[in-house]
């Protein structure tokens, strides 16, 4: 009998101990964002509430435009399958500052626990084949504690496939999530400019 897999929250608590003020964290929809908001809310988090499958490409764009900061993308296996091509784009662009944490719970948790189209895919092998050489499988918190610090420090992109216990019931987020306000909070925290103030341009 196999040992039970760690929960999302347990992984997150390890992550919370490893992020610095410079680390930017992008979380995908549902509990990926809701649980992280409870464990480690900070202005440098960008929470997606919806837009399934788009957390990783968004984090890729962020990594390209913020090359001096480490960007962490928390994506689910179901979300990744919606845009599997993004792995290829990440491998092609090869941002040195991108770390991907792939929550591998073998279900569509955010939509109620439906099975994935396939649970047989070797996601780590797919990532390596796409050119993401720094890919490892994680099945325990001890392994995560060992592998996460170098994954956050090494030249990326790096990717950890986290075998995770499913968490289907939605967890109440730490606060009501207002997308434009969260985006503005994030951009203010990292000092992102607004372009072309047309009326008052000098």
């Amino acid at each position: 009998m196999s040992e039970s897999r760690p929960t999302r929250e347990a992984y997150y608590r390890v992550l919370a101990d490893c992020v610095s003020n410079e680390t930017l964290v992008v979380t995908s929809l549902g509990n990926a964002s809701y649980v992280w908001s409870n464990v480690c809310d900070r202005a440098e988090n960008f929470y997606l509430e919806d837009a399934m499958g788009l957390a990783l490409p968004l984090a890729l764009g962020l990594a390209v435009s913020q090359p001096r900061r480490r960007v962490v993308a928390v994506e689910g296996d179901g979300g990744l399958m919606m845009h599997l091509g993004t792995l290829i784009t990440v491998g092609s662009v090869a941002p040195r500052n991108l770390t991907i944490l792939l929550v591998n719970n073998n279900i569509h948790a955010a939509s109620g626990g439906q099975p994935l189209t396939s649970t047989e895919l070797d996601l780590a092998a797919l990532a390596r084949s796409a050119g993401i050489d720094g890919t490892e499988k994680v099945g325990s918190l001890d392994t995560f504690r060992t592998l996460l610090p170098p994954a956050l420090a090494d030249e990326g992109p790096t990717l950890l496939v986290l075998a995770t216990e499913p968490d289907i019931p939605p967890v109440k987020p730490a606060f009501p999530m207002n997308p434009p306000m969260m985006k503005q909070r994030f951009m203010d925290a990292i000092g992102v400019p607004r372009y072309v103030p047309a009326m008052f341009r000098t």
């Binding site: 788009l54 764009g61 962020l62 990594a63 913020q66 434009p180 000092g191 992102v192 372009y195």
Partner: protein, 170 residues
């Protein structure tokens, strides 16, 4: 008028550089392929070749989130495939993304297999609630790009400029 300013793709590229665009995310079309190469050769711009237009839209949003001025460069069929990302991400989070789309299947591009895409493009954009304009052939393309970029920023929303082959095909 000299040769440089009469070449609309060159004007368009110059306008992007004047606007400080540093990241261009693209999925190819035969009209935009060489334009992509010109961007790829430019030391001040990064070209990201994405696998799907919705993925490309999200990359653009992420790059803008990080402060880079970005352009999404796609064929208009990509406006049909970006639907979920357009409403759930770009609009819901109010990302000012300038989208330059080759307008295949328009009355100026009567290629039979593009025509259904051309017929659907503007009604779909109106259904999304995304602002757009069709590039005017008798006006300089650079100024039209600048206005489109300004509209996206001031409106905190995506804006689509639909381009004819003369505008973008190098």
């Amino acid at each position: 008028m000299n040769e440089e300013t009469s070449h609309r793709p060159s004007e368009l590229l110059a306008a992007l550089k004047r606007a400080g665009v540093s990241v261009v995310v693209s999925v190819p079309d035969s009209w935009i392929g060489v334009f992509m190469d010109r961007i790829d050769e430019d030391p001040d711009m990064t070209l990201i070749r994405a696998t799907h237009e919705e993925e490309a839209l999200s990359i653009s949003c992420g790059a803008r989130l990080g402060g880079a001025r970005t352009v999404l460069l796609i064929q208009n069929v990509g406006l049909l495939t970006t639907g979920a990302g357009m409403v759930c991400l770009a609009q819901r989070y109010q990302f000012p993304v300038l989208i330059l789309a080759s307008y295949r299947g328009s009355p100026r591009d009567p290629v039979f297999y593009h025509i259904p895409k051309g017929r659907a493009t503007e009604p779909v954009l109106r259904a999304y609630g995304v602002s757009y304009s069709v590039a005017e052939a008798d006006l300089p393309i650079g100024a039209q790009v600048e206005r489109a970029a300004t509209f996206a920023e001031e409106g905190s929303a995506p804006f689509v400029l639909l381009l004819d082959g003369e505008d973008i095909r190098w």
